[in-house]
Every structure is written in structure tokens, then in C-alpha cells.
Subunit: 325 residues, 2 copies
């Protein structure tokens, strides 16, 4: 920014910086902040440089992000831990109750059983779908990378569709009873599971949370009491690849990297991106410069330095193109 | 013993002491020890003073103990933890796989689905069943004590039958994924559950373990790998209330406490008792002097002192009666 200002004497457009430090915990304070300061933050578009290339030398622009509702489900049985010798077979076991609830949340085709869960889901358009077919994504390479023979998931959809365009439901942790070494014959008084749903347009997090809570209550067997707590949420986002901001971004990427970007989706959630869209009506351009082998959030995380410098050039070029209109 | 020896000059029978210090961990070394020293340990019967009265002032003799197979089931998915945004919907989630396995281990009537699981089970005789009806056991008091409205378990059997005469399957702990405070969007690489089965005659622990393992493998969805490990086992025990040793024990209890004992079963497992029976052919007399409110294995555990002294008298009287033949 400063170099552009020095070189050109002036910027081709007005710029507001917005620094987000809590994305990894679901931006709980950021979203009310945006709502409160919507006048001050007004903008024609937003640029978020969080994301990756589709492959080395294949820049990408993200047209959709999944939203999320993250919950904790707690199942209660007896009012104290019990000995399975004395009470086994004639007492509620919350771990079993929880397992039955979880098993009931999907059917045999791995479809989520929450009523009307899929009803608002918009399928990707033909253009988007056909562009995915040209990405060179190979199921075999994906499975080999994970070290599995099949990738369980919703029947009737490709792996890429399930990751980018379908909502899902995942269990992130279960706690309850004795989990140390060896044997302990306890029937615990309670058990908890962390369960999240990734959402796609036009699913609304709060409506999904309510429907999920009702479904969990219905799946709870007699003899148990259940609580559902929300631990986080974020709306899904979808943009048209034809939006002017994305066309300018695509041109900037092509000029700097020598190849047109692919239009892809991401399965993850960046809550602030949906808020830029929904609250500020500022379409977010998600232009990331990471590489798929950067080991994001893992040991030995790295950043490819050539992408760092060419990323700066790309952002400069993007601003120039925007300024030219 | 010493007081009887001093008072009477001689004991009415030969006595061998056998001190067990690992009952709470399933007697892993005790059972091979008994097998190895079976000649030296030979006896006509064994007396185990581990157990409780049925109610205050209601002494009891135990005619059956449940056996047990205790296992750990480990489900593996991908070869590393995954991010649910990137991979959710298109990767094996071991916590979900485990939940589906657990849910599949019982049917809608809470019957264990392991093939032929119930085939060897001997129902209690008429005499035993009618004596239970006279115990004054009240379902309402039991439910109130646990703080629950219903006691989930195998359909078609009373609470007492389910605790004393029916085999069962309980989950003692599940570990996997993130269980700390807040949200983490991990799909863990593996998840484990501790699962035990309480067995009744004539179920054999090793046969049950094999059938359980096969069932777990069949219930494992595609995309997962499963391991079943045995963490402990003990055979079930059942005695006839008409056995001479039990008749003498009943008479001794009646003389000292002024009331005939009730014949009851216990749902727990005392592995060494079954070994006394099966290896030494020495029927174990389970004559305990605890009270139901002793808070066994819990904070503020106690022992009722009058039962301690009257227990000594009872054992002396038992030996005298045995000596008289």
C-alpha cells in the first residue's frame, strides 16, 4: 500500500483496513462489531487474503464458503456415576444414549436426518460445476492422501461436491466415563459430544440450530435428559463468478501469475466474510496466496516466499484495475 | 479363628487361608495361581466374605454372580486428524463410526444383537424367582434413588432380573477428538470405547469375546478399520440354594441374626469365586456383612460395627455346623 502510494503519488481508491484476530475461534466479538459500526465500515467490496491456490501455479478465487453451527450436546442419566455390576442392564447409560442420538442423525445413505435440512440448499450452477470438472481433482489421489479406501459421506455426490457444495454434520469429540488405561466398570452420570454442521446457501444457522435441537430431543431415548448448547455459528457465503470485483481480481491474478485463476469453493467457514456481504453489502474477494502443501494449522507450517512477493504485486494490480473502474 | 481354637481346643475342620489383593482389577494373576496350585488348594468349599446384606437386618446368601468380558474397541479413520471445513462430509469420522457400532450392538428392545448371545443363558428356577418376589424390592424406590423416571434395559424383564439374571452390555468411556472447552473443528484419526458385557451362566467369556469381535467388525462401516482388545474377563457363577454348604451358612446366619437369609444374586463379578468352583470344585459361599448404605467404593465408605462382631460369630457357627457334617 505504502509502496503504491509512494510510486503513484496517490491511491486509485479509498482503503479501509480491518484487522481480525479471532477468526480461529469463530469471530464471536467481530460480528457484533461490524453490525455496530456498519456506517463507518461502508465499502464497495472487501478483500480477504486468507486462502490458498488450488495447486502450485494455479491461483484460485473462492466463490463460496460454508457456514457453520457448532454445538455441544450433553446427555444426562442417573444423578450419579453407577457401578455396572450392580446397575448394569437397568440404568440409563448416557454414553449409549449419546451413541444412539449420533447414529440417528444420519440415515443409511449418510444423509442428515434433520427435517428440511437440505430444503434451502442451492445446487451449484452448470458453469461452476463444469469448471470443477476441469480442475483435475482425482478421487484416488485424495483417498491415498488420507490413507483410506473410501471416503464415507452423503451418497450421490462427488467428493468435491460434498466438500464444497453440500452441508454436513460432524462429531468433533465425545467425553464421558473412564478413558484412562485399563478397565473401570463405571456407568457415567453424563456424556457430552461436540457436533457441528457446515452449512451452504441458503441455510440459516439459527434455523438449523433450532431444527437440530428438536431432532436431538426426539432421538433421545426414554430415561435420559438432553441439553443442546451453541458454541459458535457463521453464515454461509456464495458469490457469482461474474461479479465485477471477482472479474478484476481474476485479471490481476492472471497478469501477475501468468495463468487465469480457477473458481473454486472452500468447505471451511470465515464468519466475517459472510458478514461483509450480509451486513455491509460489500462482496468479499477471497484471494489467498497459500499453497496446498503449506501444512495449514499443522506442524512445519510454511509460506512460499515467491507467492508472498507476487501476492503484493497482485493486490496492487487489483487496486489499479478497480480504480480504473 | 484363633478364639475358636482357644475356646474349643481344636477346630472342627481344616482351614486354608487364601488372601486375594487384586479383585478390584479383575484378578489377572490370581486365576493362573489357582490353576497352578490346584492340588495344594484343594477344599470342599470356600468362604468369601465379600458382599452385603439385602437390607439392614436382612442377611443374604449369594447364589449367583455375573461374569464379565471387558474390551476396548478402537476405530481408525484417516491417517491423521483432519479439519472439518476442508474434509467434512468426505472423510471417515471415527467418532461417528464408533457411535454407529455402539448403536448397532442393541436392538430397539435393548437386546444385545451379538448372534447367539442369549442362547446359553439359563433362566432362574421357580423357587429362586418366587423368593425374589418376597424381597420387597420396589421399582419406584429404585428409580427414585437413581433420580430417573425409567430404567432403560432389556424389554420383558423386571429390574431385578435384569440386574441379577440377564447378561448385558455397557459402555464405560469414549475417547476421541477434542473435548476441552469451546469449539475445535477436528475430525480425529481415531476413537476408542471401553465396552463390557456382564455374563450369566452358561455364557463363556472367551466365546462371547469372539462373537462380540465378529459383530463389531460386521457393524464397522466402510472406510474404517477396527480393533478389539480384551482388558479383562471373569466367568459367571451360579449355585443351587440347596447345596449343603449354603444350607449350613443359612442356618448359621439365622442363629446369629435371628432371621433366615434371603437367597439373592449379585450383578457384579468376583472372578476368583468362579475359579474356586470351576478349577477346585469348591463351591464358594458368599456371605457378606456389609449394608446397602455402606457407600461401597464411594466417599464416606463405612462398615457397620455390630455386623463386624456378629459376622465373626456367624463364621464360627458356620464352621461348627460344617464340622458336625
Amino acid at each position: 500500500m505504502e509502496s503504491l502510494l509512494k510510486a503513484a503519488g496517490r491511491l486509485p481508491l479509498n482503503v479501509k483496513f480491518f484487522i481480525e484476530g479471532e477468526e480461529e475461534i469463530g469471530s464471536p466479538r467481530m460480528i457484533p462489531f461490524i453490525k455496530k459500526h456498519r456506517q463507518q465500515l461502508r465499502a464497495d467490496l472487501s478483500l480477504i487474503c486468507d486462502g490458498s491456490f488450488f495447486a502450485p501455479e494455479r491461483p484460485a478465487l473462492v466463490t463460496a464458503l460454508r457456514g457453520m453451527v457448532y454445538t455441544e450436546v450433553e446427555v444426562h442419566g442417573a444423578d450419579r456415576d453407577l457401578h455396572s455390576g450392580i446397575f448394569g442392564g437397568a440404568a440409563p447409560n448416557p454414553l449409549e444414549g449419546l451413541a444412539r442420538i449420533i447414529a440417528g442423525l444420519k440415515d443409511r445413505k449418510s444423509r442428515v436426518t434433520i427435517p428440511r435440512y437440505y430444503a434451502p440448499v442451492q445446487p451449484p450452477g452448470e458453469a461452476e460445476r463444469s469448471s470443477w470438472n476441469q480442475l483435475g481433482f482425482r478421487d484416488e489421489a485424495y483417498l491415498e492422501d488420507l490413507g483410506v479406501e473410501v471416503a464415507p459421506g452423503e451418497e450421490g455426490y462427488s467428493i468435491l461436491e460434498r466438500r464444497w457444495a453440500r452441508p454436513t454434520l460432524e462429531i468433533h469429540g465425545i467425553a464421558g466415563g473412564y478413558t484412562g488405561p485399563g478397565a473401570k466398570t463405571v456407568i457415567p452420570a453424563r456424556a457430552t459430544a461436540k457436533i457441528s454442521m457446515r452449512l451452504v446457501t441458503d441455510q440459516r444457522p439459527q434455523a438449523v440450530l433450532r431444527a437440530f435441537t428438536r431432532k436431538v430431543q426426539r432421538l433421545t431415548p426414554p430415561g435420559f435428559r438432553v441439553e443442546v448448547r451453541q458454541l459458535g455459528s457463521g453464515a454461509p457465503l456464495a458469490l457469482s463468478p461474474d461479479a465485477p470485483a471477482l472479474r478484476h481480481a481474476a485479471r490481476a491474478l492472471q497478469e501477475v501469475f501468468g495463468r487465469p485463476p480457477v473458481f473454486m469453493r472452500e468447505g471451511g467457514t470465515v464468519p466475517v466474510a459472510a458478514e461483509f456481504m450480509n451486513v455491509l453489502q460489500a462482496p468479499p474477494v477471497l484471494m489467498g496466496f497459500g499453497l496446498p502443501d503449506d501444512n495449514l494449522h499443522s506442524p512445519n507450517e510454511k509460506f512460499h516466499l515467491p507467492n508472498f512477493y507476487r501476492g503484493i504485486e497482485t493486490v496492487i494490480r487489483f487496486m489499479e484495475l478497480l480504480g480504473e473502474g
